[in-house]
Assembly symmetry: D3
Homo-oligomer: 316 residues x 6
């Protein structure tokens, strides 16, 4: 399984750098797609699989499965995921977007922004990225950016989320909720709110947190409101290993902002939005998947140890 | 224990009628109060007790306990409720308002709009209205109008709530959440959304639902937006006894709108907001406590059977 | 047929004065009414008839017929007007409000704010205030305050209107449209826009214009936006007899503003909204019907000649 | 007269495809132009003529005539159209934009968004694209996207329009109005409102409807509101031949969205806005003129029969 | 010169109490007035004089002089103040409202909200309340609530103001500016911003600060935004005698909120707005003039020493 | 000292033309910079110096000094300017942006948008672009675009400014203030407000006015609000030499609008924002520095005499 990777360009000193062949998935990779972005990749078998946000030419938001041998070249399933829903009281999704995927214990769990009389956090699982089963919505509307931790902490499943409103929410803090059964959630904790100008409108968790010896590495997006609308960036923080609602360190500058044309022009100009990260334990390499301009899928790279150092060094 | 009551005036045909001595609690009933309204009364001992929203002259929103021999004449405790919070990870309330109180099994539970990095549903209990203990916030922000059912249904505690935003939320549907331990909540169900003009902006549960042979009687408020702001009314619906997220019948007209000067003029003109209801099982009498103009506390009366009939008759 | 009248109080120097027994119709004059206001009265038989805006306790806006022997004591039909609609392509009203009624040639014409995928000007007629027939909507949405002239001018029917948007429109000028058949309208002319502070948000025609030797006397409402919402006043102007889109004179101050409690408190505080005027040719007396606080129906009085003089004297 | 055409690229399966040499008219094609877009071309003589929206460097919106031998290379008249206005009561345009041109019976009619105390639908005609005569505004303000049918239907002229407000209107349905004289309009019919996400904010008619055996082919634009503002797309529907306010079929996906840099960057990013279509009856070829980014003029191609089939196949 | 006074009612424990005959000036005290409120009274001769905000029935905002023998019964000049403006480059006021008057050194200075391409702080003076001279606007637009100190401090004139925007400004802090000539202003200092809920939208200086041994006593208004608009209250603070931009103590609760019908109903419901205060050095009595509901003029009373004690006691 | 210059391209007839190697400073010219734009250059020694707006990767707005031998190649100091503030009562800047620099009498003065409880006009000076001293804020918040004249006029220093609100201000006129000591400002004069569509939202002074025999040449920006946000242009006017608040002539069209990709795409699309201009007295050459897309620094060229002629010729 080749890990998706490209070494740091010699002229780049920043802790993350873009893949030179970005974007890796174009907007019309499917005959019916308007755009493919904000998507989640994980290791699967001897390659990679993922759940992709594919907006179709109705501009409906749909989740599709996809597969790749190398994490860079992807085959997207032409049909959206159809959720098997065992409990008749659970309503089928009105729409789905911004998925995250994580292996916990014995299966891949998918969380996504689910249309349930408004946006909230849908929860389901798959073993093979062919059959998908939806369980209960984890949280009440209106919520977005629900991200599970990759293991229980103190015996409880943990989920980050960003309570929202019904529209282009102009505010947003990150909270953490806890569960013993992945159905009922409580023990809600406040994690963090916007502090720096680049994130002054709202923040939201990005990829599944990555466990490091120094804490959970959380990559998250932050939004600034210019006179032309929102500008999305992303940065990183370290959360306490045992009480992950406690922020140990938080990189004050952003790590990435929209600076390439595929990030600056598209259905929503000036968006870089991370939803997944692969990491290679042997080498400490990190491949971060992010959407560009709400239109295409891109990759950036980093070394985990360098990123952790950067967060600690640039913390307030 | 005299039940608070006044017979229907002969010139009133509507199913609810106002107490002739309204308001029963004036805005300055405490030396430090700006207003006392949106308050919750229950039977207690050989009289009544309650939790009252008392905004002080800072315009801070505070909860106070209160006692009454007859449900009409109330003594409000001059100091706000101080919550005992056993779990150090639970944050003390930034503020509290719009309480509901309900006896379940062995104690009185209080839910209220709790300031936790935004409004959400706080949960606590008391045995004596002197000592109060706060447990976990039931739900994530941003939420208001959290109302517990008075018993478990199918083994689970049930809570209605109205997901909101951070401000004067211009939307709102009622959802139901379920819990096995009053800490973790899930199995969220959509209950109902605005339908009629009087409730076209938003709706929210009012008093604790009242169990009747024909269903749970739910009194709820509904808001219309005029060119001068919100106008609050209240109406009623019947929910299925076993699956209370299913609406059996819903009275299409409102039951009450702001028509008296103490409802039309005050800190927020044109508000009638119900938070509690006492009912007398022997006589079927109902005393509904509601706030007037976000300033004073009022009472209205009804017969439960007449009200149930009215809901069924005026359902779509 | 007694004309509704009360002489000017001795302490009033203004050209219009309120009826001392205002409001003449209370909000709950019907068992199903939330409010009765913004209504249109005309001479009919040996008394008076009219079309009334009755919002019911759904807060649905409905038109009802009504009758009066003296213009002050009214009997409102308990059921809303049911429109006979001969042309199957004309859609039945979604709602109706703010009616005007005028006798032209051989029948009473009714215009009102009609729900047709948004508010616009519905047009119908009656001979007896029992049978009502609806023809085509005169204008496209979004429009309000459509008012017919009482006779053809230069062979054409004339209608004033106030193009609007879908909500609580924050702008508004008065235009005039012309028709040869009351079905097709064109030759649109701009009449006037807000000038004075009391009308700075928007203006709209009130009662049917009254023909005087010096021009058409137009009473119209004007809205100012305070930090608590809209404040409705009314004033008057004189339009050219032959080219009524030309304003001859316009009284700069308002004639009436909300100063009584029945105008300041109610479903929409601070509204005086005129929709009809009776005049007695013999005496020059004028009885102006206006809504108070979007809740009740009121009357004010004036002498036409005094009012015309006032307009000319207070014109810019 | 060569028809503007380029065959479908082999890698395109969509029913419309862009001209490879887009944009065909650059923003500074006139010395005084800021942008030239949203323009209307028709067959004229042995070539083509048109009316073009040319915003000048004041950013004033002006209409200019233009001529082309082949529909692709255009010469724009440097001076704006000067309207001859026979009726002194008709006001000269304050501004003009988004023209449509159609041959009916004996002349070319022009409709445009006309500044008449707000935007509405101006109506005029020309025989030679040198002399232009303005008649009455067809409709009251506030309206945009007024489009005439190319022949009478059931003896009446027909116009589609999209009632609006005064600003960047955040709503919009398409209505149809009827006239016997092109001066007075009535018998207004509702045609359609936004349904799909790509058009969820508003829709508006584009080119003059094209008569096909299966109905009137209507190309129309639809707007979605992102967190950076409006995104304009276009799609197509079929209207009943005899009662064109009845929608027979409506393609649910969009046909075109902003995907090229000349559509994504410019004075208004993310706009494709169709205003005209030429069709060749012999070959069934269709050349659709559309504005890119409110800055330049572009062309796309289609086969009418394929487009009709697509609409029917993709209808709900 | 009788000082306007009424002893504290026995049932009032608050440090300020209303005059029992409020309002002292009714809205129609002038034949042309819509309302008279937010007005400034000072000692003058053997009685009192003042500058009054009189909105006329155009709803134009005008300043009028007025006189009173006892501070409670006022005669308002029927004509607005006409400003003598010696410098031709100074523009005449477009409008004037919310005046303050203060005796400094040798004359009465008037500051007011002056219409100069937007609201700002006009400055003028009078010796006799008959002749008024306007000098330069003290500050650039957009500003309101400009209040002079009654003497130089450290050799400089001082002015409080509340920078604003053009409309119903939804924010506002109090700043202090300094001048050596009453023409040029600089050395701007931040004084205070909203802290408590009752003032959470904005604050603004009220009457001319009153010098006490413990500091300058500043009465100021504070605004809270309810779902029906703004609610105005007033409170008090103590500023450092030598560096008055330093807040020594600040009463956290409000001193007065709209609780009487003449404060709750009127052109702007729920407004109490103080603009002037008379104090009697011998007795320490204070008479505070404030507007009610932007409609009438009212008075409240206090003892200065009690008020200073209250501020210190209720400071954070 | 070579003057930065490039002759007019032969195909350009407009009075200003872009430098062919734009942008001259890229967004990441500093390791810590997010963007460098809206910057001020002046002649200094035998080359040029300047103050640059460098937003860092926190998106904090900071001022940096910079130096250049030729006005085109710049070295930016890596650390922000640290202000020496002699007066302890003057608060250190919360942030700084959009600087202007001007030599007056004996030193370089810097004005900028200074964070002082909101944006206002900071004032400081330097002799060497190494040591910088801050004096008093010239004006109260909320203000932006403060620009000094390069000499006293009638003995007084003059400053243009654009009063604003706290956010993305949707309005704005240019005013002039006068001072005898650069500390206290008064004699405020209205200069001009938006007139043309390209500037219809707001205008603001750009570079320091350039004295010409025919008046002060003022280059200023103007903003139009599209449905995607603000579009920034710039134009020019001539102000009276002796009374510079009097506009002698004003070019009605814009001189420059965003037409290159480096102006259309970036952190704020569609911005050209001029902050400085160098002129060469011998040749009449003008080099105008402007920000592109709030991201990069650009240069355009003109001949002063041609520009003056253009203004006069295109004045209304």
């Amino acid at each position: 399984m080749p890990f998706p990777w490209e070494p740091r360009p010699t002229n780049v000193s920043a802790p993350v750098w873009r893949y030179s062949a970005n974007p890796i998935i174009l907007r019309d990779a499917l005959p019916t797609s308007n755009s493919i972005f904000n998507s989640a990749a994980v290791k699967f078998g001897d390659g990679y699989a993922g759940v992709f946000r594919c907006d179709n030419t109705h501009r409906e938001m749909r989740l599709h499965a996809g597969f790749s041998p190398d994490g860079l070249n992807w085959t997207i399933e032409p049909e959206p995921i159809v959720w098997n829903i065992p409990d008749a009281e659970v309503e089928a999704p009105e729409y789905g977007y911004d998925p995250r995927v994580v292996w916990i214990e014995d299966r891949y769990y998918v969380t996504w922004c689910n249309g349930f009389h408004g946006p909230t956090i849908g929860l389901g699982y798959t073993h093979d990225f062919k059959e998908f089963t939806m369980v209960e919505n984890a949280l009440l509307p209106y919520n977005r950016n629900g991200v599970l931790f990759p293991r229980r902490v103190d015996g409880r499943y943990l989920m980050l989320s960003r309570p929202s409103d019904r529209g282009h929410t102009p505010f947003g803090d990150i909270f953490l909720s806890q569960s013993e059964d992945l159905i009922h959630w409580g023990r809600h904790r406040f994690v963090m709110n916007p502090v720096e100008p680049w994130e002054s409108t709202k923040i939201g968790a990005g990829p599944v947190p990555i466990e490091t010896p120094e804490g959970w590495l959380l990559i998250y997006h932050g939004v600034l409101t210019s006179c032309s609308g929102y500008v999305y960036h992303w940065g990183a923080a370290l959360l306490d290993l045992e009480q992950p609602w406690k922020v140990i360190a938080r990189g004050r500058p952003y790590l990435m902002s929209p600076q390439r044309l595929y990030e600056q022009a598209g259905d929503v100009p000036n968006v870089v939005f991370p939803c997944a990260a692969l990491h290679d334990e042997a080498t400490g390499r990190l491949a971060i998947y992010y959407g560009g301009a709400d239109t295409v899928t891109c990759v950036a790279f980093a070394q985990i140890d360098e990123l952790v150092d950067w967060v600690k060094k640039h913390s307030a």
